[in-house]
Symmetry: C2
Subunit: 631 residues, 2 copies
């Protein structure tokens, strides 16, 4: 056995060039990995045409897949969960509509049609559909810039529907075109900072309202009561024991507040109330879509920005709960579902909806099993719209503000930010930039800054790749970073440089300079320590995932430079893609096939063999061949 | 010795977490690698203050460094080269100024002051300074959109100077801020396609002029003679024997053309000639800089775009010749030199200059040794300006067109494009998009498309990283990609997945899905082949250069997913940066320190040890410890 391992070190396996594939086949597999990484066609394989059609229909309308298996047992769980989230949906819908400068009833409409549509098309079992605070704020910020919602409420409303329509179209198109991965570019850190910033802005806005109220009407009691209730609730969020209190708090506050105002007639003393709410379910609004408006571009822009943000939140939330319950969610399919529900919403007087985290968490904790909980919630909201709207006449706006603030305080997650600082300083920087951008600039500024910084990180990773010197781990054939492993010791006469990124145009110049600096430093070190002269440079290509033509030119220059310095250049472990390109550009011939090794260890052995065994004198090494039986 | 190697396989070296560095030190080394990769401060170390000042001055004004060593021998070589490039500079200067819709004399001015400035500040020995065709075209395209150069030549000229000024300021700032690497983002493929496209546009423009002339004046003789001369010259470019003919051709054509027109009075028969050229050297133009113009933004935009392109060409050319002659060029220092020469130029009636390839190649072939050849050229141009301008009165414009076409034909390098197609299809795509963008859109469109596509490639590399399954190379402890190495065979019960990119937010979702798909496929395969059940998943992190917080969350999910499937997750060879972050986020504790191995081989050995030696029955493996003496 010892012998077998002994042989290991000198395996005669050479680095292989993958067999050439036809261009179209490569292209196909490349497109497939990029756009269909989850391989949605797998289950369509080897099926009859009818079966394929049925599967296709089930793919786009998942309810057809699971409805036949639905049981009364499941319905009981879904019913309780649905009623629970409805009690959240009604006050939150009214509050968030206010945040978007829309009539309160639009918020209720938005909790009726979109959840119904999602229940048919969505693939998450736990997502609860509804309006969300941050996109609501964004809508009022972006559209409010061109149309004043108070001076021209009709046009403003039309623009909101139009923006919602385009948000839906954009979401559905991304899904259909399998471009869902665009959402991945909104990193966790970006969203954290962005949400925190937006929540801060919302809180400050609402707080101003509340404090103004305090000053003018001395209704401190309600306010302080509300605030203390909510802060208690916020505290209790982590304790499941208080789960029902937490869920029912918004509705309870609305009821208590309304009753209080009704009996004290506080609305006559300056306490603002919701006032008249139109009875009846969603009126159609497709004729309101303002495609010929002069503000169409603003509406499209608003739609795309808010659509992306809402979708990012919805998909992230859906995925999180899918992982907890161990089922799979197809991001692209979810996008189509979100898109369809917003297109449908924009034609039925709803504004932008998605799957908010808070409501979904409540849905999950209340024990929902399938998307039927959304149908239950929608039905409950429908009943509210048909029968109960007069009850909200006396609901004081300050209660709505409190509901918003309470929800927002939960969003500002400074512990997560501290975690980012601890683990990854750059992520923290992205998060803080996003936060500051939103708070001191605008939501778009924050978003653009954060995305740009996130992308910059990827570009910098490639533009300034890490290079480090490898040394031998004692008693092994393994070579590792000398900075990471204190035990790793460099090999006399041989410089092993590890390149830690693909070699692309963006880093070709840098790598050329950096490699030449490593050689300079090594030669200097050896001069001062009067060690063996440097004779070999091994480039460890293990982590070089790909190379482009600029990268190959760079390697050619490094080779020429090495020749001029009378150094021999070796490559260790180039990957398949890299070998293919080095072969096509004839660089393998330039460097010599015999100087490319499977492992760093083998390359070092080959160098040592020449250095010691052959008593090699001349510094200029011609492409010498190493005997096959070199041990 | 056999024994020593035997031990190798079971080295007890564990993966180390690098010692924590103070945050500021990390930041410093990070900034240094990003902005000072060439370590320009190295020679300042351990020097006295006076020496440091002297070195600093020499750094910014390199002529102080080399002038003291300048000899008459060098001057002889530089003189010949300088006169040679002057004979190119005069006709090219006049021609390219026409391309930018400027009076011909501006082209001569631009070959006087900027080369002088560059000779002081530049660090290239071979760069010949002058105007270039493509940025000239860009200037007329971008500024011509807001001001018509024929209706309002004075304002147009002011804007050109202003744009040149901002180009200089931008170039110098990039250099001072050490942001030179921005130029690296213009890949070789981008520039190839861009230049080819621009050259095509220029040729078509000029050809129209020439053909128009043919039609109206029947002066076919001159044209065909000129064109055949130039096409011959173009052919001969690669033969050094015809070097002098090639160099002198433009000047000869100008002289012959002018003499012909003078004697035949062809200018009265419709052949357009240059006409009156003002005598005297550059008048000052700093008062012409239109900082308060309403078109200032256009001028700044034009300056930045043309400045970047001109700089990219100049630096690439300078670097190429520096590599041939084995000396070093500091890109950032070159940018400062370019910037200063354009700022100086904008104040002395010059427009944008850089180091064009054609002129530099001639300079190099004519034997220049230092930047003094630029001074010689500038002096020759100065003499032309002072004494010889009347001689150009009768120079026909068609000769200038021919000069431009001749230069442009050399730029269209279809062989290089074919090479791109052969080696790297994506680079070819970038090149062709850039070409098509320039020819059918505009220069900016072409540039933006090509840069965006180049960046997209980097982003896609990270967003859709390659993952592949590793197998054992027979008779070795090495594990390699089973697709690349036909001999590599997978290990029963163990799935080894290699991740070929950093794990960032952009690929975290994808990797989660892809890893879970690998596991699905492996389990399915083992079910159908009724092999040993899958029990271990090893993630080979050798090529994972870095990880962010989204990536760590992904690993945590993969771990949870593996636990749920009763699989054990192992990591092999995570790098220093990755280990540091896994440690800070406590993921090392989650996965168990004993499940992280130095090499894939050791991880497989550990798995096999449990699988076979312990007769392990239960599928649920608790964090078992492997005895130290496991062989």
């Amino acid at each position: 056995m010892g012998n077998a391992h002994f042989d290991d070190q000198y395996s005669h396996q050479k680095v292989e060039i993958p067999a050439p594939k036809p261009f179209l086949k490569t292209l196909k597999s490349c497109v497939k990995e990029t756009l269909f990484p989850d391989d949605p066609f797998r289950k369509f394989k080897n099926q009859s045409l009818t079966k394929k059609l049925a599967l296709g229909l089930q793919y786009f309308v998942p309810i057809l897949d699971w409805a036949p298996r639905y049981t009364f047992q499941l319905f009981k769980a879904d019913f309780i969960a649905g009623i629970t989230i409805a009690s959240l949906a009604v006050p939150q819908g009214i509050s968030y509509a206010g945040l978007a400068n829309l009539p309160p009833v639009i918020g209720l409409y938005s909790s009726f049609v979109p959840p119904m549509v999602y229940a048919m098309l969505g693939s998450s079992k736990h997502l609860a559909i509804g309006n969300v605070a941050v996109p609501s704020l964004l809508i009022s910020a972006m559209l409010g810039r061109v149309v004043n919602p108070h001076d021209n409420p009709k046009l403003y409303l039309q623009l909101v529907f139009t923006a919602t329509f385009f948000a839906g179209v954009f979401q559905a198109s991304l899904g259909l075109l399998r471009l869902g991965f665009i959402v991945d570019f909104l990193s966790h850190a970006t969203i954290l900072g962005f949400m925190g910033g937006a929540a801060t802005v919302v809180c400050l806005q609402q707080l101003k309202g509340i404090l103004g109220l305090v000053h003018f009407t001395h209704e401190t009691d309600i306010v302080s009561v509300m605030r203390s209730i909510f802060s208690q609730l916020h505290q209790s969020k982590k304790k499941p024991a208080f789960f029902w209190i937490s869920c029912m708090a918004p509705l309870t506050s609305v009821i208590l507040g309304s009753v209080l105002v009704y009996f004290t007639h506080a609305e006559k003393n300056g306490v603002q109330v919701i006032g008249h709410l139109k009875k009846g379910i969603n009126p159609p609004s497709y004729s309101e879509l303002a495609f010929s408006s002069q503000y169409l571009t603003t509406a499209i822009k608003t739609g795309i920005v808010t659509g992306v943000i809402a979708m990012a939140e919805g998909i992230a939330v859906g995925r999180s709960f899918a992982i907890v319950e161990n089922y799979h969610i197809d991001g692209n399919k979810e996008m189509i579902a979100f898109g369809m529900m917003n297109i449908a919403g924009s034609c039925t007087s709803c504004y932008l909806t998605t799957g908010p985290f808070s409501r979904t968490a409540v849905n999950f904790n209340a024990g929902c099993k399938t998307a039927v909980s959304n149908i239950v919630m929608a039905t409950a909201v429908m009943i509210t719209l048909l029968l109960l709207t007069p009850l909200f006449h006396y609901t004081p706006l300050v209660v709505l503000s409190s509901i918003i603030i309470s929800a927002m305080l939960g969003i500002i997650d400074y512990n997560a930010a501290i975690h980012l600082w601890k683990v990854d300083k750059y992520d923290f920087l992205v998060c803080i930039s996003s936060f500051i951008g939103v708070v001191f600039g605008s939501v778009e500024v924050g978003l653009i800054v954060a995305v740009a910084m996130s992308l910059l990180r990827i570009l910098l990773f490639v533009a300034r790749p890490k290079t480090f010197v490898l040394g031998k781990i004692p008693n092994s054939m393994t070579y590792r970073n000398t900075e990471q492993y204190s035990a790793a010791s460099s090999v006399p006469g041989i410089l092993i440089i590890h390149i830690d990124a693909p070699i692309y145009f963006a880093n070709a110049s840098y790598l050329r300079e950096r490699i030449s600096r490593w050689i300079d430093e090594e030669e200097e070190k050896q001069r001062t320590l009067s060690e063996i002269e440097l004779q070999y440079v091994i480039l460890d290509m293990s982590a070089v995932g790909n190379i482009d033509t600029s990268g190959i030119s760079m390697l050619e220059e490094v080779k020429r430079n090495a020749d001029r310095r009378c150094l021999k250049l070796l490559l260790a472990n180039p990957g398949g893609e890299v070998m293919k390109k080095l072969d096509k550009s004839n660089f393998i011939d330039t460097i010599g096939k015999e100087w490319i090794y499977l492992t760093v260890g083998e390359a070092v052995n080959a160098c040592n063999y020449i250095l010691h065994t052959c008593k090699f004198q001349s510094k200029r090494i011609e492409s010498s061949t190493i005997p096959d039986d070199n041990v």
